[in-house]
Amino acid sequence: MANNEAVNKTMKLLSEAKLEKYQVISNKSKNTEMVVERGEISLLRTTTDVNLQITAVNKNKKARINTNKTDDSAIEEAIKNVQELLETSEVDEAYDISPFQETKQFESGDKEPSKEDMYNLITRFIEAVKLEYPKLNISESSLTFNFAEVNLVNSNGVKYLQTKGIYSFYVVFTAKDGNKVSSMNFASFSMGNLEKDLLDTATLRTLIKENIEQLKTKPINEKFVGDVLITPDYLGELIDAFAAIGLSDGSIISETSVLKDSIGETIASSKLTIHSNPRSKHICDGYSITADGFEARDLTILENGVLKSHLLGLYGAKKTGRERAENSGGAYIVDAGDISYNDIIKKVKKGILLARFSGGSPSSNGDVSGVAKNSYYIEDGKVQYPISETMIAGNIYDMFKNIKEISSEQVNFGKTIMPWILTSGVTISGK
């Protein structure tokens, strides 16, 4: 059944079931993926899937069903199931669906991939790596084109259609020289088209060069509190963690967020501004509608260190009596600073360049500890050597407060745009 037909059929049956409020999202997707294993293209994979999600609110009870079948009997069964779940649900006045908004369509990207172009791009990457970086092993890699058509309709009259085609690439690699093996690293990014060579996209070439250098590492033989220069590759993960423990529905509802009452307060260095811009023309892999039925809009989370917005969805906002965010988070852009990366390095007396972090999920209070991977020791304004077996312990909120510099260079990963940031006060302990 066509995507819109399934949605219309579902809406009709929900109406006949006389439920008070309901929302239907149909997400029909097609993936074309080329997988690289051990330095050659090993698999071509084409998959199609559909997800029909039905959310119903009745007598202040809520339930949700997801199915990937859209024939008449499957839809009828899904509605029966959602009614059964509603019966067993709990009363909560915060359950709701989005109010009426103007009908809109959003389109971005290609509708079909060119398999030939995908093959040629990834082959050029493999050949360039073999030629320029013979010690590098591509352990695993894939280039994917995903086309998704999302229909979102609800009983308040909301009708959104979003179609999006996007290419994404990821690669996991290690260097090997004799019996020496470097710590594995990875890169991933999204692309609106296939015009640019993969090796020259985002930070991939730098990460590969560094990985080969990392065949020879040294542990830091001491423990000290020092500076940490966070690369764009890791900064995105750090902001995801910050959002999860401090800004999300769960952290605010459970009151475990230390930022729950901090809107309008300075919580970070005045140098730090973070946007969540899923509609930005610079973010090729953004989104136009939220899962709870709103048109997504760009928002600023943190402006010059002042907290401007949590990331509450409709339920979290109603539950806590706070403001709903304009989007569902992600698509983070950190504003650039006014000093070059090279000049930041010169300012570091003693610390590390943190390129990847293997650590536990941060505690609600922001504490985080783990291993600095694919990272470098910095002393007296110079990057000294790649490090191994080095643990770091710090606090995310303190890291954001202690920011000393933000680079003027930014890296666009398609989903995020990140600079380098220099912070301090992190415990760095070697073996």
Binding site: E140, K176, G360, A393
Partner: protein, 457 residues
């Protein structure tokens, strides 16, 4: 199986055909609020074809004669697309045909959705009434069921139904403005009816969780540096899986893992024997029993380390051919639209002869780490695990609780430092491994005494 046999006439190269349905259900209470009440079903058909050294894969959510034939055809076309571009000499291990059927579904009368909701609510009510100083509590009931039917052109066939039901309880207190939390998992392989009888059966363990949480909140940060520690079964299991297991998956070995050069070499203390069990340990079913994998290969145990010597890697059909060995059933896929990857099944260190109390008594100044958070490992065998529940050991006795910390090290070095292995065996019930896809896994083991880097303050 009979259903799929009808399509064997459409196989022209080495071909796998799989029908699969995954079912999920979750009920989550957060501070009395029902924040999740969902069911999900994902099903479809997929086919994978090997042609002149290249693989083609295709899938379709529709399951009918036309879609199945189209899926096989598209998988063939995809393999042909690559093989036309580049002829490769890659081979696959085909192995003998094997047929098996496994249904781990419950025989009991099914409990209604309302019954399960009431069960979870009763646990939540118990916690709310008994522990009044909590700032947050989460009770989550989570179900995953995987139903697979597979046919290969070699003639292997299987049907398997594997359910897993877990209840996860997470509690949090405030300590001087800092939220401190801890969690516990209950349940494991099986439907709800086979695992849970009445909510009060869980209360004693929830009380213990609360005690650990209070000890943690009153506790201290671990001291950073290399320490003598005891890793309880939960952490020994994740060490076996993350730090050793992944480095010995043959696809990772071919991708540059340090373990590539270690076969038949001493990689750990001779107290250590580490096995990826196919389906049973000592005659008892493991958490994720596999008799035939998703490539149709008969599953057997893989002894990775035997008495400290690295013996075997884990293979799929292609890596087995590359290493000129046999595959033992490690290829698995998560969803119908996923291709099989080299995966662990039930990975554990075998129990030793020491008593846990003697192991604790033997440490003058160290730590007893009991409960892990997430874990990651590297091709170098360098690993990191979060520790969410643990205690100091001072003069052979458990002392203060510790706050969240992280442990790290080179796994082979850590296992070389093992001096005692306990005589008990505990399987974890909630393992989910992330590679390109997620997949449920079993992991477990005894407690191990070793030296490890602790990332405290």
């Amino acid at each position: 199986m009979l259903q799929l046999n009808r399509f064997a006439k459409h196989f022209s190269n080495y071909t796998e055909l799989r029908m699969q349905e995954n079912k999920n259900m979750s009920i989550r209470f957060l501070n009395s609020n029902l924040v999740e009440n969902e069911k999900k079903s994902t099903s479809g058909v997929s086919s994978r074809v090997f042609n002149s050294g290249s693989w083609g894969f295709a899938s379709n959510p529709e399951i009918n004669d036309v879609s199945i034939i189209e899926t096989i055809k598209l998988a063939n076309e995809n393999a042909q697309f690559l093989s036309r571009k580049c002829k490769k000499s890659n081979k696959i291990y085909e192995g003998p045909a094997f047929t098996h059927s496994l249904d781990l579904g419950t025989d009991k009368n099914r409990i209604s959705q309302k019954g399960m909701m009431n069960f979870v609510k009763e646990i939540d009510n118990y916690i709310e009434k008994k522990f009044t100083d909590l700032i947050t509590r989460t009770v989550l009931l989570n179900f995953l069921g995987m139903d697979k039917t597979i046919l290969t052109s070699v003639g292997s066939a299987k049907h398997s139904l594997w359910p897993r039901t877990m209840i996860i309880v997470k509690l949090g207190v405030d300590k001087n403005g800092e939220p401190i939390s801890a969690y516990e998992l209950f349940g494991g392989r099986g439907h709800f009816e086979d695992l849970f009888s009445k909510p009060s059966d869980l209360f004693e363990d929830i009380d213990k969780l609360y005690t650990h949480l209070k000890n943690k909140s009153e506790g201290v940060y671990a001291e950073a540096g290399e320490k003598e520690v005891i890793l309880d079964a939960d952490l020994a299991g994740i060490l076996a899986h993350e730090a050793i297991g992944h480095t010995t998956e043959a696809d990772i070995v071919l991708g540059g893992s340090i373990a590539a050069d270690y076969i038949d070499k001493k990689v750990s203390s001779s107290l250590i024997t580490l096995t990826d069990y196919a389906h049973s340990y000592n005659g008892v079913l493991c958490p994720t029993p596999i008799y035939v994998d998703d490539e149709g290969t008969k599953a057997e145990d893989v002894v990775i380390i035997e008495d400290g010597i690295l013996k075997e890697f884990m293979h799929n059909k292609e890596t087995a051919a590359t290493f000129d060995t046999i595959a033992k059933g490690n290829a698995r896929a998560y969803q119908y639209f996923d291709e099989p990857l080299v995966r662990m099944r039930n990975t554990a260190i075998q129990p030793g002869k020491s008593k846990l109390k003697d192991m604790i008594a033997s440490i003058e100044d160290g730590y007893y780490f009991m409960r892990s958070g997430n874990g990651q490992a590297d091709s170098t065998s360098e690993f990191m695990f979060a520790v969410t529940v643990g205690y100091e050991i001072k003069n052979g006795k458990l002392a203060r609780g510790i706050r969240d910390t992280t442990i790290a090290g080179l796994a082979f070095d850590v296992l070389k430092s093992a001096t005692m292995v306990s005589d008990d065996m505990v399987w974890g019930c909630g393992g989910m491994c992330g590679k390109k896809q997620i997949i449920p896994v079993g992991m477990g083991g005894p407690a191990i005494k070793c030296r490890i880097n602790v990332g405290g303050k």
